[in-house]
Each structure stands twice: as C-alpha cells, then as structure tokens.
C-alpha cells in the first residue's frame, strides 16, 4: 500500500452481539468501534430512543476527544408495502420476538465519512480524502 492510500475499515456487528445488551451498553459498543475510526455496519437497527441516546452520547464526546467531530448515521430497511396483510402481521410478530434484524445501520465517524446521502433505495457514502 502506498503512503497516499488510505485504509478504510468496516466493522460488522451482528444483531446477536447487541441483542442482550441494555440501551446504554449498545450505544457504548457502537461508539467504541466508531472512535477507532471504523465504520460500523450493524445488522438490524436501534430503537428510536437508542438512536437519540447515541446522538446525545456522540455530542457529549465532541470536543472532549481529539479530532472527533461526531458521526454520520443511516438506516436502510426493505419496504414491506407489497406484502399482504398476513405477511405484514408475521413480520411485525417476528420483529417483536427477535428484534428488528432486517435493516442495516451504518454509522461512520465524521472524520472518515463526509456525508451519507440516503434515498429510500440506496445509500451513498461520501468519504473524506
């Protein structure tokens, strides 16, 4: 690798790794990875209140940790609009039982990821040079 190349590390966190953790520990686990300048690919998604805690914890770290300016965050989830009523019920029941695993959450440190542009069907990761 030449000196001009820049390494980008993606860390995959399977849902089973956070399944039994409480909200605070989930947020901590994610931020621990992000603070190593890695992009987290999380199977599933956090609860809305956990996402808010993640933002709060992130903001608390900005200015305290050198060169940490926050995160870029996006969730992609397949649409279930075409499913019939029973399929939707099954999906909801499955989510209630085993968590929301059919989404992907991408969290990258702002020092690495300039912007995540999202529209319903795709995500563009704009990286910093």
């Amino acid at each position: 690798m030449s000196t001009k190349d820049r390494k980008l590390t993606l860390s995959f966190i399977p849902y089973s790794d956070i399944e039994k953790l409480d909200s605070m520990k989930r947020v901590k686990k994610i931020l621990d990875v992000v603070l190593k300048d890695r992009i987290v690919i999380l199977q599933g998604r956090l609860e809305a209140t956990e996402e808010a805690s993640l933002i709060q914890s992130t903001m608390a770290l900005v200015g305290r940790i050198k060169n940490f300016r926050g995160v870029e965050l996006a969730v992609i989830q397949g649409k279930n609009e075409d499913n019939d009523f029973m399929s939707k019920v099954r999906i909801r029941m499955a989510r209630a039982l085993v968590g929301d695993r059919d989404a992907l959450t991408i969290i990258g440190p702002a020092a690495v990821v300039k912007e995540i542009k999202k529209d319903p069907s795709k995500i563009d990761l704009m990286l910093k040079r």
């Binding site: 809305a48 933002i55 608390a60 300016r69 969730v75 702002a110 995540i116 542009k117 999202k118």
Partner: protein, 213 residues
Amino acid sequence: MVIRIVKNFFKRVFSNIFTGKKNLSLGFYGPPNAGKTSLANRICKDWTGEEIGRVSKIPHETRMIQFKEKVEIEYKGKKLTLKLVDTPGIATRIDYEDFLKFGMRKKEAQQRAKEATSGVIESIKWLEDMNAVVVVLDATENPYSQVNITIIGNLVARKIPVLIVANKVDLKKAEIKKIEAAFPEYEVVGISARYGTNMEEFYESLFKLAKKI
C-alpha cells in the same frame, strides 16, 4: 369573595369548553437551519408582536432552548394558549471548521461548536416535556436524513402528536412532495416562515394537532 372565585371558576371551565382553549407546550424540532426559529418568530410576531430569537444563515444559531409563554392564537373562534419552545437543531456531527467558512475566527467557531453540542443534548432531553411538536424541515434538502427519522421516531415512541412543516417553499429547489413521500403517515404543511406564506393552513393544522392531545 367566595362568589367571585366560584364565578371565575365556572367562567374558566365554560370558556374552555366553548372555545376549545388549551394551554400546551409546543416544541419546534428539526435539523439545523431548517427555520425553526423563523417559524417560532413568525407565530410570535403574528400574535404577540415580539420575536423569540435571532436567526442566521450560519447553522446552529440557536444553541439554547428558547421560550415564549402564553402565546394566544385565535382561529375561527377557537383559542389556543401556547408555550412555544424553540429548540437547537439536532445533528449527529458538529465540526467547528464548518463555521470558519462563514468568516468566523477559530476560537469563536470552536466556542460555537461547543455550545451547539450542548444544545443538541438539551433538545433531546426536552422532547418528553412537549405536548405536541412541529418538526420543521427544509423543503430544499433531502428529507431521508436519519436525524429527521430519529426525531419523528422518538416522538412516536413518546406518543407526542407531530405536525411536519416543509419550510422554505419560496425557494425554487423546494420539493414538498418529497417530504410527503418520506413521511406518508403525517400531515405536511408547506410554508415560508420568512415571508409568512401559507400561514393560514399552518394555523388550521395546528388546531387539528391540538385536538390530538
């Protein structure tokens, strides 16, 4: 004395029944620079003649929660008494270097970034104290940002009624339909807080929102 107290009590109760008068905390939430303070100012100016806070082109101008108590709004014979709560914009990243582009000095920019991070934390803390929330989005920006989704998700989780405002419809790039497509379960009102465009429809939606509380 007792007669006067009883009389006032009945007057208050019956006036609430017949005019639908309510006293509620109405929060203005959204990403930075969407026009939350501009809208809160517009409402305040319309009904009290005063403003709630300063606006600026530089993001994170509002870095502390701002209030305006007892703002009385009248619409079609009904009254609402509101406590307006204007909140700092919620963001997942705050980089002081972004402020340097607006001609700020490094120290000033760093201080602004520091205050802005505290503002985001405060905004989220205040969520649960709201009776209803107006989510203000910039109609020229992509609505699918995770911050927007997180704010609305948190309001839903707390069962707080939501009205979405697509602000800056006076700009050519504004796309209200994109916001409606992103949040099909919510009423979206397109306005220009700066020029006061479509405020009638906004007030009508505000009264509908108050009914959901």
